[in-house]
């Protein structure tokens, strides 16, 4: 049974077009109830279980090695606990007891034991321990796969297929035979998830955010088109659509391989003005991708990942090593590290437990770090000051809205430097410091911030949200989320002018920096740098190289006179259409 022809709008996370049939990847962490059989020869069944445990162990060890070589070593660490769980004495004893006392088959004995432990953990008060229930199920499901011999069942196909799954863990992604994968469509994830990063490094198209029920509905006979440019997922396309996509895939493939060859070219306009292109990264995983795309540095290195998925906080030494490695890997290219930007809305309950009615307007970013959790900021700054001697480090503060906040951080840095000196440690004596311009307050006061800092970075995503007074997660006001709105353009212009008047560097690191239609406008405003996801750099470089500064400046002037977002965007887009038609047509 194949599904009716239909198009689904998902989120594009890796460019390209894939056309092919479906390969579903079974979710490992779902422990399904197997059939109960009564066993006579219980000792033989116990031996069968032990053999499966051994095989699973070998499989996990191999996988851990694979992941270690492909991804960050911290991802490989998740296997440590899993490896210990596979032949855990308590689990094994319970499974064998179930086999011997109740004459259960190994599958059912494992299911009963795994579920009972997962339930106990899942019912605990401690949130952290509750989440460990998933680890038990993941491991039990893995052993189950070996017992029932289904682990590699779907993967051993002889033709190339499109992977479809609800989620793909780093281990599952690493396990796939790359030669047999055409692309990915998964339910959960984002542009910065492992699947997305891996897909881009494999140069395979990928979309995320597909409907949760879709993987279950699709079968191996369904044909899919993944449009990694627009995020469209087309199920069982008609012949005409498929042909049109084949042609587009060819044209896009040619353009992207041309862009790749241009990655060493300067990003300068036809009349010789250079606009730096930098990469936004969520973790060190993306460094290679940034280099491949010819990034001139890291314009935004988010540090939230360091604090995620763990119960404790990263210490100074741990952070020092990470920042040091990052700086060394970037070879003297500028690296802008943003201090921890969290609030009451997300993760690590260890950082901040209070619940706020409106976390985005609450104790977030630098506010949290200066008030409730100064200790976190101190540890982070100390690690940064020490690591700074290994490269070209700049530090950026998130969610700044008052001059006072910058002064406080500067005096804190001074104190930390004195302490480091007393301890006779190596550290950076001048730490270039910048602020994110993402609140209207910061943008309006840009002239007063400028003498205090070394650079500005305009974070348009939050700037739009706070200026337009809209909740980004609220669909009903999504129509107001327009970065080309006259109010936003005015704040960007104002910030860039203040930076230029005080001779400090100004960058744009929000989503708009990678939107080809907005690039002429931003270049026309006179920003020094655009920072974006590494995969977008090639396209933006081409757009800039096709652009004349005097034309971009005219566009910026005209756009500022527009009374609405659509008109302003249309003016910028018209210039893009004239100067880079090949980009518009993909």
């Amino acid at each position: 049974m194949t599904l009716a022809s239909q198009t689904i709008q998902a989120i594009a996370v890796s460019p390209g077009i894939a056309i092919g049939r479906v390969m579903r990847v079974r979710p490992y962490n779902r422990l399904l109830e197997p059939e109960l059989q009564k066993i006579d020869d219980v000792e033989a069944e116990v031996r069968r279980y032990r053999a499966a445990v051994e095989a699973t162990r070998a499989e996990l060890t191999a996988l851990q090695e694979q992941v270690r070589s492909k991804l960050n070593s911290s991802d490989a660490d998740i296997f440590e606990a899993h490896l210990l769980l596979v032949d855990d004495r308590t689990l094994t004893a319970q499974v064998e007891k179930n086999i011997r006392d109740k004459h259960f088959n190994a599958e059912y004995a494992l299911f009963k034991a795994g579920e009972s432990f997962a339930r106990v953990l899942g019912g605990m008060q401690d949130e952290y321990l509750r989440e460990r229930a998933a680890d038990i199920r993941d491991v039990a499901a893995r052993i189950m796969g070996v017992l029932t011999n289904t682990v590699s069942g779907e993967i051993g196909l002889d033709d190339r297929r499109i992977i479809i799954a609800s989620t793909l863990s780093p281990s599952e992604t690493a396990q796939l035979d790359r030669r047999k994968v055409l692309g990915f469509a998964v339910e959960t994830g984002s542009a910065t998830s492992h699947t997305a990063i891996l897909a881009r490094s494999m140069q395979l198209p990928a979309v995320v955010g597909i409907p949760p029920e879709l993987p279950e509905k699709l079968s191996a006979d369904d044909k899919l088109i993944i449009d990694g440019y627009t995020g469209k997922l087309i199920i069982n396309p008609d012949a005409r659509t498929e042909e049109a996509y084949r042609l587009r895939a060819q044209a896009a493939g040619e353009l992207y391989s041309a862009l790749e060859r241009e990655n060493t070219l300067r990003s300068e306009t036809t009349d010789g003005f250079v606009v730096q292109l930098a990469a936004n990264l969520d973790s060190p995983d993306g460094i290679d991708e940034a280099k491949r795309n010819g990034a001139g540095g890291i314009g935004l290195f988010r540090t939230e990942y360091l604090f995620m998925n763990r119960g404790d906080l990263p210490g100074e030494e741990e952070q020092f090593e990470i920042y040091k490695q990052l700086l060394v890997a970037c070879d003297e290219q500028p690296v802008v590290v943003r201090t921890l930007d969290v609030g009451g809305d997300k993760f690590n309950t260890n950082i901040y437990r209070a619940s706020e009615q409106n976390p985005f307007l609450g104790l977030r970013g630098i506010r949290l770090c200066l008030h409730e959790r100064r200790d976190i900021l101190e540890t982070q700054l100390r690690a940064l000051l020490r690591a700074g001697v290994y490269g070209n480090l700049r530090v950026m503060l998130p969610m700044v809205s008052s001059i006072r906040e910058v002064i406080d951080v500067k005096s804190l840095i001074g104190n930390l430097q004195r302490k480091l000196e007393q301890e006779q440690r190596e550290f950076l004596s001048h730490l270039p410091l910048g602020v994110m311009i993402e609140t209207p307050a910061a943008a309006i006061l840009a002239e007063r911030f400028a003498p205090l800092v070394d650079f500005f970075s305009i974070g348009t995503n939050d700037l739009v949200q706070y200026t337009m007074a809209i909740d980004r997660g609220n669909d009903r006001v999504a129509y107001l989320y327009r970065p080309s709105h006259p109010a936003i353009l005015e704040l960007i212009r104002h910030t860039v002018e203040a930076a230029r008047a005080h001779n400090i560097f100004v960058s744009v690191c929000g989503q708009v920096a990678s939107d080809p239609a907005m690039v002429p406008l931003l270049v026309g405003f006179g920003v020094h740098e655009l920072s974006m996801p590494p995969a977008s750099i090639g396209v933006v470089r081409r757009v800039i190289r096709n652009l004349a500064m005097h034309e971009a400046e005219t566009v910026a002037r005209e756009a500022l006179r527009c009374s609405n977002a659509s008109d302003a965007l249309a003016i910028s887009e018209a210039l893009l259409r004239r100067s880079s038609p090949e980009i518009v047509n993909i």
């Binding site: 308590t90 952290y128 321990l129 763990r310 260890n350």
Partner: protein
């Protein structure tokens, strides 16, 4: 201070002529904001597995199931939060060395800050 009591009880049980079977007991405390979570539990399993000894932990305030230090699952189910006092029992040929290694581990706050 991590070690809440010194050797509260120190018993020797004589085994066969070749080895000395000992049962050592001591009280240790969890000094880590997250309690005995996955990483230290995994670490403890590795430490415990390195000795020819049976090592268990039991909550002092809520005696009940003893956790086997060579089983990560068992340690997680113990749900030992920050500040929990635990009765550590060690027996076997290498009991003394094992006792030292495990108490050191608790004293180091599981090697985290």
């Amino acid at each position: 201070m991590v070690l809440c009591g010194f050797f509260e009880c120190f018993e020797k049980i004589h085994g066969n002529a070749m080895t000395t079977e000992q049962l050592l007991q001591q009280t240790v405390s969890v000094c880590n904001p997250m309690g005995l979570h996955t990483r230290p539990a995994a670490e403890l399993v590795k430490i415990a597995s390195g000795f020819n000894a049976e090592i268990t932990l039991e909550k002092v305030e809520e005696p009940g199931e003893e956790a086997d230090c060579r089983s990560i699952l068992s340690l997680l189910m113990l749900a030992a939060a920050d500040g929990t006092r635990l009765k550590l029992r060690v027996s076997g040929a290498e009991a003394e060395q094992a006792m030292r290694a495990v108490t050191d581990f608790f004293e180091s706050r599981f090697g985290e800050e």
